[in-house]
């Protein structure tokens, strides 16, 4: 794609200009977290330098300015994922906290002993462990839909696992370990046919594609800011308004109440009911700035550019003898997980680092996925919109060199 403004985009990310071990940085660990553009960094310092105070409280000018920025960011998130109201946008620390929030409020109120929660075999630990903890406390049962050797959900098996006892379907939109994009429309339709609510873990999907929660018709959608070019420590829980209204609050404290006496407390309206305490104001503002930046580039343009990167990387990697790609789904985002014959991913990681290349080596918080593919770990190159084919060439040449050294 000749129109994608890659040079301008790269120039927007100050960290990419540096050298690592005397080599130009090639940052390919974007699935773990991605780097921040200058506009995001500036938005945070601008707030602290000129507009910072606590939100929703003071009648003074700074508090009103900070509140405007904070609520303005909520508006941007709402538009970005096409929610129908800002009441449906809850700020949390990240996707992990969002899932835990749903487990300790929605699930607690609606899922009982013997009921089932259905996930897939490719979930991140953050969409496994909260449900295991919940099941342990309540006697609910966690069901896991299997995947095939390409790393795709076996949809027929998934469908069979939906039963009258299923009270929640919670699946990853795009797998962080494999890159697989799940057939979420089909999944949601199947669950809706039985009136089962669906939670999508969008932590990995959100920086790579347009997400329209109304079109998807999911009940909950969660994601983290730090994978979306925004600060770490901020994330979003989207929930349909009716569901959120009916849910008990998450944490108690300031801002989530309307009226407090020692006898009883009346909770605040949405979205504040779920935002107890002073929020991470500057990070929310940073998230808003990241969204403005992405909207200007266009998520569909980003998706198309990254698809080209992935195709290029996959083709190059396939030609390397002894390299096995882990995760070969037909529908896949820009993640290349791989193993090399007789060379452990940690050795790959250290060797590539000495060439200035940052990849992830490990289990990617998805140990069950590693077990399924019978590998202790994988090496993972994950791409963002600021990566280039030249960087993929550097990666592939690095892999070839280290294979030679290990002999």
């Amino acid at each position: 794609m000749t129109t994608f403004p890659i040079e301008k985009i790269r120039a927007d990310f100050p960290i990419l200009k540096q050298k690592i071990r005397n080599k130009p940085l090639v940052y390919l660990d974007n699935a773990a977290t991605c780097q921040k553009p200058q506009v995001v960094i500036d938005s945070i310092s601008h707030l602290y330098m000129h507009e910072y105070a606590n939100v929703h409280r003071g009648v003074h000018t700074l508090s009103m300015k900070a509140t405007d920025r904070y609520e303005g960011a909520r508006e941007k998130v709402k538009d970005f994922i096409n929610a129908s109201s800002t009441k449906e946008i809850i700020f949390v620390r990240g996707a992990t906290e969002a899932i835990n929030l749903i487990a300790s409020t929605f699930a607690k109120a609606n899922i009982n002993k013997g009921d089932e929660i259905l996930i897939t075999a490719m979930e991140h630990h953050s969409n496994i462990v909260p449900w295991q903890m919940f099941c342990e406390q309540t006697g609910a049962v966690l069901k896991v839909a299997p995947i095939n050797l390409q790393g795709e959900l076996i949809y027929e098996q998934f469908e069979k696992l939906i039963s009258d006892k299923t009270k929640l379907v919670s699946v990853v939109h795009m797998s962080n370990a494999l890159g697989t994009i799940n057939p979420v429309k089909k999944i949601i339709a199947a669950a809706k046919a039985k009136n089962i609510p669906v939670l999508l873990d969008g932590a990995q999907a959100i920086p790579h594609m347009s997400v329209d929660v109304q079109q998807l018709d999911c009940d909950f959608y969660v994601f983290s800011g730090h994978k979306l070019y925004a600060p770490a420590g901020i994330g979003v829980l989207y929930g349909k308004q009716a569901l959120l209204e009916a849910m008990p609050p998450y944490q108690g404290g300031g801002d989530m109440i309307r009226k407090v006496t020692f006898e009883e407390t009346e909770y605040n309206t949405l979205p504040y009911k779920f935002e107890a305490g002073t929020p991470s104001i500057a990070d929310v503002v940073g998230l808003g700035a990241a969204i403005d930046y992405l909207v200007e580039i266009g998520m569909d343009n980003i998706a198309a550019y990254e698809a080209e990167l992935l195709d290029y990387a996959t083709e190059k990697a396939s030609k390397i003898e002894g390299l096995r790609i882990i995760g070969e789904a037909k529908e896949k985002g820009a993640i290349l997980s791989f193993v090399l014959d007789k060379i452990h991913p940690h050795d790959i990681g250290t060797m590539l680092d000495s060439l200035g290349i940052a990849i992830r080596a490990g289990h990617h918080c998805a140990m069950p996925v590693m077990d399924f593919f019978e590998v202790p770990a994988t090496a993972r190159a994950s791409f963002a919109m600021y990566n280039t084919k030249e960087e993929i060439d550097v990666l592939m040449s690095g892999i070839e060199q280290l294979i030679e050294v290990f002999g």
């Binding site: 060797m351 289990h363 280290l402 050294v405």
Partner: protein
């Protein structure tokens, strides 16, 4: 090529990674302990044959990175014929070499293990080198975690 890594990946390490020594199941082991590094998935089983407090044989099975494989391979070589106290002293020396101050190391005692000193500069890889020794430490100290074939 990879000049910066020469201190970390010395030829001895590649050699032990390609051809690990004492890489076998020991049928008549007196101690058998599993070592696991959940962070990177390295997994090894260490077997010891004891005569009183002397380690008369040591072997291992498992999979790990080059650093961890070389470390356990070298360890099984060096601890053979050592008493428990001598092995423990080596463990402390090794720990010092990979995490502590350079001055405190008895280079003569540490012998070939010195090839692993390079991990000191790579905090993320220290655990790869020390897994073997922590497993040995468990085998020597914590009998509850070891099994006896007798």
């Amino acid at each position: 090529m990879f000049d910066d890594l020469r201190d970390l990946y010395q030829e001895v390490i590649f050699d032990h990674n390609r051809n690990p020594r004492n890489f076998r199941v020991m049928e008549n082991a007196d101690r058998k302990v599993e070592g696991f590094n959940p962070l990177c998935g390295d997994r090894l089983t260490l077997f010891l044959k004891m005569n009183g407090d002397e380690i008369v044989d040591a072997s291992f099975q498992g999979s790990g990175c080059a650093i961890s494989t070389a470390s356990v391979s070298l360890m099984t070589e060096i601890v053979k014929g050592k008493t428990e106290a001598e092995a423990d002293a080596l463990f402390k020396q090794f720990h010092e070499m990979t995490t502590g101050k350079e001055d405190n190391i008895d280079l003569e005692a540490i012998g070939k293990l010195a090839v692993l000193a390079g991990v000191r500069e790579y905090p993320a890889r220290v655990k790869c080198a020390t897994l073997a020794w922590h497993t040995l430490d468990a085998a020597l100290k914590n009998e509850a975690n070891s099994i006896s074939t007798e």
